[in-house]
Symmetry: C2
Amino acid sequence: MRFIATTSSDGVTEQLFTLGEIPGVLWTPEGAAGTRPLIVMGHGGGQHKKAPGIVARAQRFVADGDFAVVAVDVPGHGDRPTDPEYDRIATENQARVDAGEELAPLIADFQALVARQTVPEWRAVLDAVQELDHVGAGPVGYWGVSLGCGLGVPFVAAEPRVRAAVLGLGGALASGEVAARISVPVEFLLQWDDERVPRAQSLALFDAFASVEKTLHANPGRHGEIPLFELDSAVRFFLRHLGR
Amino acid sequence: MRFIATTSSDGVTEQLFTLGEIPGVLWTPEGAAGTRPLIVMGHGGGQHKKAPGIVARAQRFVADGDFAVVAVDVPGHGDRPTDPEYDRIATENQARVDAGEELAPLIADFQALVARQTVPEWRAVLDAVQELDHVGAGPVGYWGVSLGCGLGVPFVAAEPRVRAAVLGLGGALASGEVAARISVPVEFLLQWDDERVPRAQSLALFDAFASVEKTLHANPGRHGEIPLFELDSAVRFFLRHLGR
C-alpha cells in the first residue's frame, strides 16, 4: 500500500493511495489514533472513488460516526485504464438494447462479471487498510447503490468482516441468489420511479436477503434522486450496528 | 371538554378528558406553557387510547419532541359502549370469512364506515385541544397504523391542519382513493410478512399518496411486529416536519 497524497479539511483527513494497481482513497478523522469502525463504499457506474455523492457521504460518516471510510475505483472507472474486455461487452450490450433487448438482464450479467474481479480486490484493500494504526481491525460496514449494489452484494456475501450494509438501486436479476447468503442487517434503498431497475426486481432483491433485520426505504423519484434525509438514516444505521 | 384526571410522571403530564361522548387522553410536557406541535394518534383495532403501543410512543413524542399528543377511543373501543350496528357487521363479516370470503375487502368496507363517524369526531377533538393554552394552534401531525391507518387516511385527507403523517399496515382497498387526496409528507410502515394486509395492497396504498415526500419503510415480520427503531424514525420525521 502506497500513500500518494494527504490533505485535511474540516476535521477530515483524506489519503490517496494505491494498492498494486488499485487507486483508492481513505478518509479518517483528523488526528485519528487507534482502532475504529470502517465503512467500505462502492461507487456507481460511470462514477469514481471521489464522485461528489461518495465524498459527501464519506465526510458525514467520518464527522458524525468517527468512522474510517475507504473507496476505490472500480475497473474501467476513475484513475484506472479502460478495460478492453469490459468495453467490448458494454458496446455489445448497447447494441443489443438498441435492437430491443431488455436492459436489466444485461446489466445483471455484466455486474456479475465485474464482481469476480472486484470482490478479491476489495478484500485485499480491507486487509491493507485494517493494518493501519488509525483504522485497525474494528467492525466493518458497506455502503453502495446501483453498481455499488451489484458489486456490493457479492462482496458483503463473501466477506465475514462486514457486519452491516446499506445497499439499493439494484435488482434480484443481478444479485438475488447471492443476496440469500447475506444475513447481516441491511438498509435497502429503492427509488419508486427508478427508470433503470424495475420496481418488482428491487422488491425481489430486498426479499432475497436472509437478514433477520432488513429495512426497505422507498422514496419517490428516479434512479439518481435518493433524498438527502436517507444519508441521516444511513449514519444512524451504521452507528447502531457498528457501534462507537 | 371536561377534564377527569391529571397525573404526571417522568416529565410527562397525562390528562384524561371527555368531549361529549368521546373519551380521550392528552399528553404534554410537565409544566408546559404556550403553543406547541400536536400529534393526533389513532389506535389499532381491539385496542384503545391507552394501549401500551400508543402510550409508549406518546411518551417519546412528548419527551423527545416537546410535542403535545392526543388520542381518543374509537367507537366500540376502550371506554366507549359497544355499538350494536358495528357489532352486527363484525359478526356478519366473521361468518363471511368462515365461509371462505376474503378478509381484506370486508375490513376495508368496515373501516370506511367507521371513518364517517371518526373523522368529524377527531376534528372536533382537534378544535377543542388547540383551544388549550399549553397546546395552542401549532402544526399538527398524525400517527396511526392498522385501524389507525384505515381511519387516519380519511382524517388526514379531510383535515388541512395536519402537515405530516406516519401511517401503515393498511391497504389500498380501504384507502386508495382517499389517499390520492393527501399531499403532506408521509412515512408509511409496511410489515413484509403481514398476515392481515396483502403486500401488494400495502404497496398500492403507498403508491396512491399524492405527497411529493413520502417514504416507505418495510421490515420483516408479521402485522404486529414493527421494529422498535421505527419509533426513532417517527420522532425524527415529526421533528423534521413539525419543527420545534
